[in-house]
Symmetry: C2
Subunit: 442 residues, 2 copies
Amino acid sequence: MNKKEKVIEPQNIKLNMEFRAPKGTRDLLPEDKIAKNYVASELQKAFEIFGFNPIETPALEEYETATVKFAAGEGSDVMNEIFTLEDRAGRKLALRYEMTFPLARVIASNPQLPKPFKRYAMGPVWRNGPIKLGRYREFWQCDVDTVGIKNMYADVEILSLIDYIFKKFGINIIIKLNNRKLLNGIMEDLSIPKDLVDKALITIDKLDKIGKEEVIKELKEKGLNEGISKKIINSFETKDLNEVKVKSNLGKEGIKELKEVIDLCSKLNLKNIIFDISLVRGLGYYTGTIFEAFAKDSSIKSSIAGGGRWDKMIQMYGQLKDEVPAVGVAFGLDVIIDVLKEKGVKFDKTVCNLYIIPIKTKEESMKILQRLRLESIKCDMDMNDRSISKNLEYANQLGIKYVLIVGKKELEENKFTLRNMETGIEEKLKIEEIIKKFKVEK
Amino acid sequence: MNKKEKVIEPQNIKLNMEFRAPKGTRDLLPEDKIAKNYVASELQKAFEIFGFNPIETPALEEYETATVKFAAGEGSDVMNEIFTLEDRAGRKLALRYEMTFPLARVIASNPQLPKPFKRYAMGPVWRNGPIKLGRYREFWQCDVDTVGIKNMYADVEILSLIDYIFKKFGINIIIKLNNRKLLNGIMEDLSIPKDLVDKALITIDKLDKIGKEEVIKELKEKGLNEGISKKIINSFETKDLNEVKVKSNLGKEGIKELKEVIDLCSKLNLKNIIFDISLVRGLGYYTGTIFEAFAKDSSIKSSIAGGGRWDKMIQMYGQLKDEVPAVGVAFGLDVIIDVLKEKGVKFDKTVCNLYIIPIKTKEESMKILQRLRLESIKCDMDMNDRSISKNLEYANQLGIKYVLIVGKKELEENKFTLRNMETGIEEKLKIEEIIKKFKVEK
């Protein structure tokens, strides 16, 4: 392509043309990014304490990799929301829309990796979906998965991680728990045709939200008659696992798995985990345990974390004879921040703790700045020769907690005025005393 | 689009089809990602100590934003390497290919931001370029910029940051320093036509690499005759700033700026900064100070950090009457890791420090695991009922430093065998003693 065609010359820009982040994406300015970094770093710490190792896969995936059956599930909207592009050789690529299928690809193409393989991955994913309130086309996912453990200890470890993290954040949660084997078993008992099972389950998932009548209506639209729809709904009315009756072997296995999970959780004193037979989860690749965590006593109703078992996807990517068991959870970074803000948690507006105001002492102030930084103190100084009042206004706007005034007299005395911007209290301190006051652990 | 068309059915996958990361991209497995996280986190710490605040802009940009003149520079190859895509409404988008123009967009569209505005940004960028050794289509950039300071203190602060960071990493560097005003001034003196200036400079940049003869040849190809080419080269032969003679006012300003930078660096005891008149830097948007840092005594010849002043780009995005001064640097995450590895720095293979081997004590071991994790100890356990020898092999493969053997007898005695996997030394310890040994600071 001709370069000239691709470059917009300055004179061709309309004066009222505005450059902005693309529709459905956001710029995070310092205050928001500081909050995000805080939550991301707390998640990362917890993941590592639980023995999960970091990996990173590209944002770009081959289109065929991204669209294999079981990747996002055939019935999922996600398949219609993939951003596609081409490389210079004409290969069709996709922006990843979640983090699970890239893990399946990595496991399948690296058979040398010792199992169990426990990993976390954090980063942006993209969905070219319709814009709704609070829904973005670029957003972050924080995923944790254990590959290679078939028994329920791995599932419980994930639930334990969820419990651990939200306790750290001081967020009270409830975790809704269910099992896909049980759900499929119930559908088997009712002789629902296989190709309608997933569609019917996605409707059942809405039972709490839209009510019985609407669910029957939607099931009808999907091709199930009223009689069978009512039977389906009846099967989803209980709240007690002990009351659930299922004839199919698959369903029985689901109940057994659920009981194992609940039993072990109780032994580990993990609370607030409740069986919810109408929990389905949208993605088609789940095969066993499924769960979703919600903040209690919060106006934020969307789930704050969710996941489950996905024992069949890796087999798919590896064209393997046997299943490769896997279970994991995705944490919603943005939702967590929203809940913390709702709880009144205040995040820093700036990383900077100390701002030097030089009064005709720029060189000397720069040396003081250099010295404080060598002590790992997060600090900055005015380099624009502004007045004290302008500088105080700036420090205030940024939310910097302390300013240090450095004039000629102060230099001679080696004592400087440190002003607490919140209280207005001033102290006269030596550099060594300032260092002691601000010293952060190294 | 029809869903059926987009989904690859399992039976249609050829048995030898392999799923891999797209050409020019990489999967980072734990060992590599741990190294990357370490370097990224050290950079982040340093950036914050220097008072730079984090921001995040989307990976997606409107195509018009990404291709405005001054974004990457008209003469740059980058303009032909932009990955393009479309959103569902048919808007043309681009994957960001660097982090400077998104900052210019943010500044221009957020006039409320107090100046100076100091930010850092870390994350992937994409270039749909030819694949060469060590060149990727998706790679990370770590950028730091100060917006709103016209004088050379801001430039020196960036040089001081570079010095600080590489001292922390234990990497000896030299920083080559030059100034675009000086370069343009020299070209003015030689009456080089304006449209050839940038092209000629990009060739001059190769003087060290390809030698005089080749440079003259390339200049000729670009439309400059031999006489003028030799004159250009003569102007670039000196190594001493005091010997540089320039008539144009722009050039004189460049020399003045260089002298200010060098003088202040010397006062701050910043060493290993050398004037290099043939340093140009590829991007067209630089307007003043430019610099590149290289690892000394290393086989790695590519620059490890580089940047400069770019006073005109924000004006462009904001359609402003006046320039908005800006200066910054980009750190090469991958190069830093390569240099550290070359120096023999060993990164952890796993985040996990302790691996519990239960011998018919899974439930009790899970409780111990839970207790250790509450103490922030990074640990894990076997959940697959493997033999001790299999588990030792696994811990060894992963590079886990300690294993803890938990049998029935150990539980009764409340004393467990802690084995150092590197030395083979075993101790019998109580849980409290293990916690004390591993306790990490909170």
